[in-house]
């Protein structure tokens, strides 16, 4: 018993010291412009961990790093499940979810289960199976498979991904990971979070923002579509009618 108490105290103390650690992190680019030739891009998230004296950590100190990039533009999604009724497949059960992130990327030094306990991972929403979105207001919860269907679909669309082992240490204190932003990444701000773990506990965190914005004609068009929907729709109709007229004229002259 006494031994256990001493051990617990030792853990508490190291944890206390560890909290004084300092994390400096950065992103290779903090603003990405979506132009008409945008086809996805890579950004690098990097950082250094220093001890309480402001020195680089020696290689003997093992730290785990988890990098999460997520879009906080939340979506409401209805999931329906098809079932066979007689000869045909029809939608039977459905569930509505709110607060589903449009983009989620996770990279870590090791498998998440080796880094920290499940409840701590859930607290910080670390891992595709620990995202905190839930039933939409007024909707009731149900089987887990509906939730999993969302994650699966988003993974297929390359919007969600998880890379255990994607963060590498260049020395005892310097780490980096490459993030692939797919071409269909939602425009808007992405939240970049870096978590440092030691002994199964979070010792320091850092949060940054990555701005993704449409530029040029892409931007003008989506702004017009949102701000002046009637004008935008009318323009679309008039221009397509004119295009039809132009094709007729060109072809008539050719015979």
């Amino acid at each position: 018993m006494r031994l256990a108490a001493v051990f617990a105290l030792a853990v508490l103390l190291t944890a206390g010291f560890a909290r004084a650690e300092d994390l400096a992190a950065g992103i290779s680019r903090d603003k990405i412009e979506i132009t008409s030739s945008f086809s996805g891009t890579d950004v690098v998230v990097f950082g250094a961990i220093e001890n309480e004296e402001g020195e680089a950590l020696p290689a003997t100190e093992m730290r785990d790093v988890v990098v999460v990039i997520r879009s906080d533009k939340p979506y409401t999604i209805t999931v329906r499940k098809k079932e066979r009724v007689g000869p045909i497949w029809i939608n039977r059960d459905m569930q509505r979810f709110a607060g589903v992130p449009g983009f989620y990327f996770l990279s870590s030094t090791r498998p998440l289960k080796d880094i920290a306990r499940a409840d701590l991972l859930s607290q910080y929403e670390l891992g595709l199976d620990r995202l905190a979105f839930g039933p939409a207001p007024g909707a009731v919860g149900g089987p887990k498979e509906f939730r999993q269907a969302i994650v699966r679909h988003k993974q297929t669309a390359t919007l969600y991904s998880q890379h255990e082992g994607g963060v590498s240490f260049l020395s005892g204190s310097l780490f980096r990971t490459t993030v692939r932003l797919p071409p269909n990444v939602p425009a808007g701000n992405l939240k970049v979070q870096v978590f440092v773990f030691a002994g199964g506990d979070v010792t320091s965190t850092n949060t940054m923002t990555l701005y993704i914005d449409k530029s040029g004609i892409e931007r003008s068009l989506s702004e017009l579509a949102l701000d002046q929907p009637f004008v935008y729709g009318l323009l679309a109709v008039v221009l397509s009618a004119l295009a039809g007229l132009a094709a007729y004229v060109v072809f008539r002259e050719r015979g």
Binding site: P183, S240, Y248
Partner: protein, 307 residues
Amino acid sequence: MEIYLPIAEMPVNIFLIAGLGAAVGFLSGMFGVGGGFILTPFLMFIGIPPPVAVATQSTQIVASSVSGVLTHWRKGNVDIKMGAVLLGGGLTGSLLGIQLFNALKAAGQVDLFIALSYVIFLGSIGGLMFYESLQAVRAGGSNVGGTRREPGGHYWVHGWPLKMRFQRSKLYISAIPPALLGVLIGVLSVVMGVGGGFILVPAMIYLLRMPTAVVVGTSLFQIIFVAAFSTLLHAITNHSVDAILALLLIAGGVIGAQFGVRYGERLRSDWMRLCLAGLILLICLRLAADLVFTPADPFNLLVEGVE
């Protein structure tokens, strides 16, 4: 070559989309159908979000219908008077259709209703048309579509009041049947989310007995307004019309429509009806397959948008 779509928020291949537009424009010019029932599923298949696919295809249909209708117009194959009567009925029908659509939505299962009505409608229209045109092709020659006698049709239509002369169609009939037909198409186009050309065309040939050549032009004339209205509605309520995607589809579509009209004129009318029947049956089979075959993933997602 890829280009980024501002509303769909994803890149697409320019040539793939323009080619798709051309193929659908060709069908449109040839048969007088809009082609949304082919375009929408294909756009969704390549990853365009469904609301954007549905809204943007209607913009392309405006362009290819204008392109096709002008060519038909020059040849005297558009019956504006008939088109206007159909359109009047169509607008009334779409107002009724919205009520029906909301009622179905409240009862759940709107998807199933839509899929089943497609299969039943397309299957029966396509099947009857296929049978009739095959007979005509075999008989070799009856070049004037609609002069054949079908059970029903001929006599009761002629007894109705409010007779109007439709010169282009060489018809002197009551305005009530075409107006009612317009109402039906309007209801269907709202509930099923399509322009309704593939139902209107056979109905004009078999029920109203209009000459096939005039049917195609008149149907395109009517479709312009339906598609323009639907583009505006989508732009205002969902902000889901993607101008760049529309532009690519239109570039192919307006040219495809020109070729479609030319090619359609060279086809004998019984052959043309046979081809259209074949097309309708193919679409019906595809939809029936979706209902019957085990889906790759029983779960389907509907993104309702950003909160």
